[in-house]
């Protein structure tokens, strides 16, 4: 007996999504550093935080509860509300 599986979510070609506009510069911006909670990522982000701060931006740190799934919607909402850009690290 043949089984046919229909996937209602399947796309032959996904819709192409454009990137958001880039920042005009770094000075005065608020940059989110999102830690995915893998080991050693915090040390990496600590250094990024120091450098980015030296260059005139404000850094806000955020941490995902787990790297095994996307960040919770509330966390993403807070980052989008409070910051001008985001760097997420560090997957290995």
């Amino acid at each position: 007996m043949t089984t046919t599986l229909l996937d209602p979510t399947g796309e032959r070609r996904p819709v192409e999504r454009p990137r958001a506009a880039r920042l005009p510069g770094l000075a005065g911006q608020v940059i989110a550093l999102l830690d995915i909670s893998k080991p050693r990522g915090d040390v990496f982000l600590d250094r990024l935080s120091a450098v980015i701060t030296e260059r005139g931006a404000t850094v806000r740190r955020y941490t995902k509860p787990t790297y095994t799934k996307p960040a919770p919607a509330d966390l993403r909402r807070q980052i989008a509300q409070d910051c001008n850009a985001v760097i997420e690290a560090l997957a290995d």
């Binding site: 796309e11 070609r13 996904p14 819709v15 192409e16 999504r17 990137r19 958001a20 506009a21 880039r22 920042l23 005009p24 510069g25 770094l26 940059i31 999102l34 893998k38 080991p39 050693r40 990522g41 040390v43 990496f44 982000l45 600590d46 250094r47 990024l48 450098v51 980015i52 260059r55 995902k64 996307p70 960040a71 993403r76 980052i79 989008a80 910051c83 001008n84 850009a85 985001v86 760097i87 997420e88 690290a89 560090l90 997957a91 290995d92």
Partner: protein, 72 residues
Amino acid sequence: MHDITALEATGLPGVFVASEEFVAAAATQAAALGFDPPRVFVPHPIQDRSDDEMRALADAVVDDLLQRLCAS
């Protein structure tokens, strides 16, 4: 990548950092999502590196990261 994709959809420019082991997977995922997020790769492995090595990795890519966030 899902997080950066979702945040970029809100208008927030983003970039993610992953080890080189993720180069192919990131390309595949970008094609599947229909979104090509800015990304920077660092040498693998990560977890057995010293604090100094991790700081050196950050120093090596910070300019690239910031260039990918900024228009100029």
